[in-house]
């Protein structure tokens, strides 16, 4: 049998979503992959951020929350809010 196949080129399609555990942002209750109420575009223009407490929110949402508060605390767990540095993965690391 002389049959032999080999893949030369692969044109793949993937889609990305925010790697946040819950589906929706705890502040605006919109999906992470949608946009917050005052955002216009989903995706890159409505980024999702994590605090060191591992809770995730839309950047716009958490900023607004922090601005309205005297103390910078996570609205979920009341721990001091600090932005987690951009790291690979999210709350659960790469699998």
């Amino acid at each position: 049998m002389t049959f032999e196949v080999k893949i030369k080129k692969w044109h793949a399609v993937a889609s990305w979503t925010w790697n946040a555990g819950d589906d929706v942002c705890g502040i605006c209750r919109m999906p992470f992959d949608g946009c917050p109420p005052d955002g216009k575009f989903p995706g890159d223009d409505s980024p999702v951020v994590w605090g060191i407490c591992t809770h995730a929110f839309h950047l716009q949402c958490i900023n607004r929350w922090l601005q309205s508060q005297a103390e910078q605390k996570c609205p979920f767990c009341r721990r001091q809010w600090e932005f987690k540095q951009a790291v690979v993965g999210g709350e659960d690391s790469d699998t």
């Binding site: 049998m1 002389t2 049959f3 032999e4 196949v5 080999k6 893949i7 030369k8 080129k9 692969w10 044109h11 793949a12 399609v13 993937a14 889609s15 990305w16 979503t17 925010w18 790697n19 946040a20 992959d33 949608g34 946009c35 216009k40 575009f41 989903p42 995706g43 890159d44 980024p47 999702v48 951020v49 994590w50 995730a56 951009a86 790291v87 690979v88 993965g89 999210g90 790469d94």
Partner: protein
Amino acid sequence: MASAAASGRRLVVKLRSRQDTGRAAEGQAQQAQLKEAISAIYASSPTPCTLEELFSGVESEVAAQHGGALHALVADECQRKAAAEAADLATAVALDSTAFLQHVVNLWEAYSSQLSLIRQVFLYLDRAYVVNHPGTLSVFQLGLRQLRCQLEALPHVHHRIVESLLQLVEAERSGEAVNRYLLKRAVDMLSNLRLYEDGVQETLLASATQYYSREGSALINELELAPYLLHCERRLGEEYERCEAYLGQAMRKPLKEIVDRCLLEEHLSTILEGSRQLLAGCQEQDLARLYTMCARIRALQGLRLGFRDYIRTTGSAVVTDEHKEDEMVTRMLLFRKNMLSVLHNSYASHADFAQALKEGFEACLNARADKPAELIARYLDSILRRGSKAAAQEGSLEDVLDAALALFRYVQGKDVFEAFYKRILSRRLLMGRSASMDAEKLCISKIKAECGPQFTNQLEGMLKDIEVSADIMAGFKQYVAARPSSGTLDMSVLVLTSGFWPSYRTFDCLLPTELLRAQQDFADYYLSKHGGRKLAWHSASSNCLVRAQFASGVKELQASLHQAIILLLFNEHEQLSFADIQAAVRLEEAELRRTLASMSLAKERVLLKEPAGSEVGRSDVFKVNPGYTSRMFRVKINNLQMHDSDEDSKKTNEQVLQDRFHQIDAAIVRIMKMRKTLSHNLLLAELATQLRFPVGQSDVKKRVESLIDREYLQRTEHGYEYLA
């Protein structure tokens, strides 16, 4: 004549000196002489003495206060002559119209020239006596009055004159050549005698009315509309010309009205009915003629409605023709182009007609729910796939897009279009079938004007993903090149932002290790660049270029990922059963069947199935087709997804329907929150302004029921109340 007048003037000085002598006698003799002179003038024979002498005779008589007697004398003489003329005419009534009229005109012209000579002789009477005695007629008027009275005293003569005139006019209308000069002189005579204005004109108009209503009723059935209109136009021209030539300016307006009324207004419904034929044939010149005629008789409203209804019925027939759905958009585009051209060239781009065109197209494109919107989206797809080639025969690509979107503008269910456009665009982009990114952007910017930025943001996001992916791939290539362990697989990845793209079904499948490793490499690279994300792979949208060594030679196969991974299995196995393949690739059964069928039952049969049959069964066994050949080096193995586009559109429609329910819910709640209480009808009216698609009564009722169940609303006596 002129010389007589000149010599008369020279004599005035001499005569005045005679008058100064104050001789008042010989009045009788003088009057007798004048009477004789009038008779002589009327008989066209020489006067008994010179005109100068007669003139001075008149002058002296008037000066002697005999003006009244003189006036009566002239009246008498004129009457006698006029009676004689009338009697003469009475003997000629048996002649045919032309000859009789000729006779009349000859007599008249002799009479009037004789009368003007008499007037000159009796000039002093006019100047000194008539002017000072209001109510008396001047000599010339007296002569005319007498003739008129005599004619009226003989009604059959009078009648015969008018009749002759009518006969000749009618003969000319019927196309016979007549002596226009004769007619003009006859009209002159009648109007000098004040007979023309008093009755003759009316009679003429009445005969014209009769003539044209007869003609209108006959021709409207006999002729097609176009020649009929041409005929009407010619008739108007003829009447106009006839007025110029002899009937007089005053007749122009009433005659025009008669022609308009008898030929057009009375048959308006037939004419408007016939205009459909003209529209169907795009007979722009004839339509322009019809337009100006309707404008004249103030029937534009009817023409406008006819235009609208023609567009509506003709367009609806095209739209609802289910057998020719593929051609619907092109047919409608052509139809619209024709109608626009009619609007500009025939209907003077009149704003009301433009509105009628819009109403007509709106009615026909909405004659059928949803389908037109879908077909327009598909038509745009075909244009954007072919790019400028599609536009070659139609002008620029932009014009083609504009025309298609103009059709879209008429469609009420914009959301259907949006859903289909998005789905089709995504397929076009994922399959790399778009002819030009610039054209895509152009089209989207045009849709933005129609649908608003909210919708096009997503489309723009999709295009942006394609561009960003190219950048990512450039980075990834460098990253791979820096790693010595990389394989020979040339991999490119489109990374989609999931919020922008329509949701596709994803299929799980087991990839060969080589592909898995490449996939993992890319994921590592991508996630290191973009924190906080995760990737999902869409194997159904992936495709591969596969190099295959057949017995007949080497081929390159353009295949889907699913096809490719099945083919790879045959590197190690001569033949495989359906179950073997399923175990190896772990693809969902329906998709696996479809994929196997595409390679063993469709056009390019690279696999052989046993037993042969028209469907893939669970117990089938597959092996590579040893006899596979193709004329081409590079072969595309079509996916069998093409034929399920019906299912595809059904799915999209369902999705649109679902979205509509949500939008109706949201709109109702928004309105009720603002108004607190509202009747059902007012709620419907408000909804119509808020929603971008037509809502059915029953849909609204259902949604209201559902909102009442969910305690957003409650019923009141007059309508609904919002529950906070």
